[in-house]
Symmetry: C2
Subunit: 181 residues, 2 copies
């Protein structure tokens, strides 16, 4: 056998949706939808959105029976750590990494995970380490602006959502139920 | 009342997802998912994908009870028009415009509609004319590469999905079930 084997044709992908435009999380939710349509097991951890909010996508995924875990769920505030947001993010990542390594999922979404990395609450190299130990066929989708260079380097598929025209800016139209949340 | 009224805060949006990257259709499907989660009435016409294919998103939307109409559905080939693809696209647009003007939908997706326009099968100005007569609160999402200038001009929200890194190119990984279709 030659040492330069052709690359495998199928493998689990690490996918990043980044950029300043719309559609990063929405496309990731669409991917969950597609995989769910094929009876794959999907899950999501959301690192930024309010855990009390009832967003359209939550309601949809709930109707579909898909688990969307807010980073703060099950989190207990302790006086040893005053930075509750940071602790919630770390707790969310602990949950996410357990999901990733459990072998129970086909597709996992880490929604808006670039922000806690940027804030210094999570470490990109920890995330890469966990992703590199995931089951071979598992796909993981990460979203958020300004994806870190090391994540982009590690990822298989990276798309930048770029704002070309936005109604907030041109018309003062505000975010609308069912379209944007 | 002043003649320079502030712009309305809520209105139906014409949204375009364009560019060479992934996520154009997927984000639009995610939008349908989100609106469906809020019990809004959603529908889609697909202008390019095979009507016989059982894509993951079709299966998902079917499970959700959402109508996805292939442009060719109900199309009857006639000897008067030998260009069947063109005729299918026109038939698809006829269906789509009826849906848009029916007042029965909250969100409609026109998937990959930029291609039949580019091929000269549909006319961008017809589409704009119909969109401008739609119900005030209806959102319409158009997808496809190289969105035509007049559509971009008319739209409220335009996002370019830009390929930064793609596994077909870097690793020879081919499209995978549940992730990309």
């Amino acid at each position: 056998m030659p040492t330069n084997r052709p690359p495998k044709k199928h493998k689990g992908l690490v996918i990043i949706n980044t950029g300043d435009g719309k559609g990063k999380s929405t496309a990731a939710f669409g991917m969950l939808l597609r995989a769910w349509g094929r009876d794959m097991k999907v899950g999501a951890v959301q690192f930024i959105k309010s855990e009390s909010g009832k967003y359209g996508e939550h309601r949809a995924l709930e109707k579909m029976g898909v688990e969307v875990i807010p980073a703060g769920r099950g989190f207990t505030w302790t006086s040893h750590d005053l930075d509750v947001d940071a602790e919630k993010a770390r707790h969310g990542w602990k949950t996410a990494s357990e999901m990733i390594l459990s072998g129970e999922y086909d597709v996992i979404m880490l929604d808006e995970i670039t922000y806690p990395i940027r804030y210094g609450w999570l470490d990109a190299s920890d995330i890469i380490d966990t992703l590199s130990r995931r089951p071979e066929m598992m796909h993981v989708v990460l979203t958020g602006r300004n994806a870190q260079d090391e994540l982009v380097e590690f990822a298989d598929l990276v798309t930048e959502m770029k704002m070309i025209k936005h109604p907030y800016e041109t018309q003062g139209v505000t975010a609308q139920k069912g379209v944007e949340f």
